[in-house]
């Protein structure tokens, strides 16, 4: 893995929304890299900026009232500052997204086959028959029974799990090098969740893609990612190999997440137990560590100065905390 080429380099990425109540820094100072064929997990509570981050990486943030700074090099293409037209060239073919909610991410009045073969016809210039044949192949690949008949149905005629398979098939249509999966199983039944995650894993291997797997459920990323980024209030607070984040984390928020999470061996469906206190208001962030108001280890410096992300041990492990946990305190994976 270490000699694989780097596919994605994110550096000092920040996304700020202009809202009526002032600037809202949804993502701030995020840097990481992703190699080819690697699966990276991004975890954090709801509202921690995972969706904004994954969309900003693609350049898919809203077009108005938003400012993006920093750099995202995707297979050599600088996404930040690129025009919509330039980004269109990479969307679908270099990078694609599996959206969170299959109930809202498919066009309700367009037959699913048409939604899948749109990329094939418009972007890859395939003719109608070839595109249809390929779309049916894709439906089969994502495990939809009798794909040829399903080609012509509307999303409303399918269950949530089936719809998410259609979303995945659509994302795969352009054979992207990078697949962004934004909470692909939230809102689905437990058994369906596991099926979808396994499906993602198998198509990743078949199509040799890199995957960014976004979730608020650490159980989801435990067995399926090689590295994990933990986000809080739009920033990375800890990152490292999956093993290190589970077994040797140093940041109290990571531990709080893990304590609320089922053990790795459990099925990947349990939601995080609520961490006491509320996520911070991004419009009015505390001066120091954003986690301080909820942290039982907080000291004076935590409330005054924000801890920077510092490298810890090997393999790119890093955390941002003034009073890190001793290594032995980790919850074993």
């Amino acid at each position: 893995m270490s000699d694989a080429t780097t596919l994605l380099v994110v550096k000092d990425l920040a996304t700020t929304f202009q809202t009526p109540s002032g600037p809202l820094p949804a993502v701030g100072g995020v840097s990481f890299t992703l190699k080819e064929n690697e699966t990276l997990g991004i975890v954090g509570e709801s509202g921690s900026g995972k969706t904004v981050l994954s969309r900003t990486i693609m350049g898919l943030q809203p077009r108005r009232n938003v400012e993006v700074t920093g750099s995202v090099l995707l297979n050599g293409f600088e996404v930040v500052g690129a025009s919509e037209e330039a980004k269109r060239a990479i969307w679908g073919l270099e990078v694609a997204m599996v959206f969170q909610d299959p109930m809202t991410s498919l066009n309700p009045v367009m037959r699913i086959g048409k939604q899948i073969d749109e990329i094939l016809r418009v972007r890859l210039k395939m003719d109608r028959h070839a595109a249809k044949a390929r779309a049916i192949e894709l439906l089969e690949l994502v495990g939809i029974p009798s794909p040829a008949e399903r080609y012509g149905v509307f999303p409303g005629e399918l269950s949530g799990g089936m719809r998410q398979r259609v979303v995945i098939a659509t994302a795969l249509a352009g054979s992207p090098k990078l697949l962004m999966a934004d909470e692909p199983t939230t809102g689905l039944d437990v058994t369906i969740q596991a099926q979808i995650l396994n499906l993602l894993q198998s198509v990743k291997d078949q199509m040799s893609m890199s995957v960014v797997l976004v979730t608020h459920d650490l159980g989801v990323v435990a067995t399926r990612t090689s590295r994990i980024i933990v986000m809080y209030a739009g920033r990375i607070v800890e990152m490292g190999t999956t093993r290190d984040v589970f077994a040797r984390h140093r940041m109290p928020y990571t531990r709080a997440l893990l304590e609320g999470s089922p053990k790795v061996s459990n099925p990947s469906h349990t939601r995080l137990l609520a961490i006491p206190g509320r996520p911070p208001n991004l419009l009015d962030l505390p001066q120091g560590c954003a986690f301080a108001p909820r942290c039982s280890f907080a000291t004076d410096i935590c409330r005054k100065e924000r801890p920077e992300l510092e490298p810890s041990f090997e393999d790119g492990h890093a955390f941002a905390c003034w009073n890190p946990l001793p290594v032995s305190q980790g919850v074993p994976a």
Binding site: F99, G156, V167, G174
Partner: protein, 306 residues
């Protein structure tokens, strides 16, 4: 249901027209004639019977496909309607083509950047148009376009049908069609604009965007269809309204469509013609709405599934 509505309308029309002052005998004989002659004519026309009985005689004939004969002109009501109706249909079709052809692209332009300068300009324009009644529009158009440019604004006697000479026909119907199109445009533009703005916020639009397809394609292939349900519903009601309410424009421009004929017949107390037109128009309005309901169900499969 449909039959019930038509029945109620037919009763209403029948009753109302008999309430109006004036009677056909006076029109035919002139006011000075003797009461004996009047009574004889009343009897001939069947107007001496109780109104309820008159109604049943009429409706029985209607159900047998016979709308009767005009008291005044002695021509069959159906043939009168048959020669007038195509004019209404043509004006409506022309006006709707115009209205949609302008409303759809402008609504898309507005929805792309809500509150942008183009959207504001279009909004102000449509608001201005909305506040001008159609008879004022006609007078202005006649004054400034028809007379200045010499576009014929026609008259009943000089009316030329589409089959006879389509150029002259289109010229003469351009003005009324344009007038009706203005009103329709404003309504369609506003309804579609707001639905498009809502649709463009949807997650499936972001998903479409993530496929790297053009803005234009997103608008037409992804946003337009789910945004057109209210538009179609409005169009159904509006077109029905144009059929039923086309008389202002027709009357002002002396175009011998149904509306014009209706007003004339009311003035002459030509009961059977009035009743026939009201019946045909109300059936037409209902059919139009029915057709649009069907179209809506095809356009948005969610609706029939519910």
């Amino acid at each position: 249901m449909l039959i019930g509505i038509v029945f109620i309308i037919s009763v209403g029309a029948f009753y109302l027209i008999h309430l109006l002052p004036g009677d056909p005998a006076a029109v035919i004989l002139g006011t000075g004639d003797s009461p004996q002659n009047r009574a004889r004519l009343f009897k001939e026309l069947g107007l001496n019977k109780p109104i309820l009985e008159q109604y049943f005689v009429w409706i029985k004939n209607v159900l047998h496909g016979n709308l009767g004969t005009s008291f005044i002109s002695q021509t069959s009501v159906w043939s009168t309607i048959k020669s007038a109706l195509p004019i209404d249909v043509e004006i409506i079709v022309l006006s709707q083509i115009l209205a949609f052809a302008v409303a759809i692209p402008t609504a898309m332009v507005s929805a792309r950047k809500p509150d942008g300068w183009l959207d504001r300009l279009l909004g102000a324009t449509s608001f201005t148009l909305l506040s001008i009644p159609s008879f004022v529009v006609i007078v202005l158009l006649v004054l400034f376009i028809a007379i200045k440019l010499g576009v014929p604004h026609t008259g009943v006697s000089s009316y030329v049908s589409l089959g006879q000479d389509w150029v002259v026909n289109l010229e003469s119907l351009a003005l009324p069609s344009f007038t009706l199109a203005l009103g329709s445009f404003v309504v369609y533009y506003r309804v579609l604009r707001s639905d498009l703005i809502a649709t463009l916020q949807e997650e499936y639009i972001t998903m479409a965007r993530s496929k790297g397809i053009s803005q234009r394609r997103i608008m037409w292939r992804h946003a337009f269809r789910p945004s057109s349900v209210a538009l179609l519903g409005t169009a159904g009601v509006n077109i029905g309204g144009l059929l039923a309410g086309g008389f202002i424009v027709q009357y002002l421009l002396s175009i011998p469509g149904l509306g014009y004929t209706l007003i004339q017949s009311i003035g002459l107390s030509d009961y059977l013609v009035v009743q026939g037109i009201v019946l045909v128009v109300s059936v037409g309005v209902i059919l139009i709405n029915f057709a649009f309901d069907l179209i809506i169900n095809i356009v948005d499969p969610r609706i029939s599934r519910e």
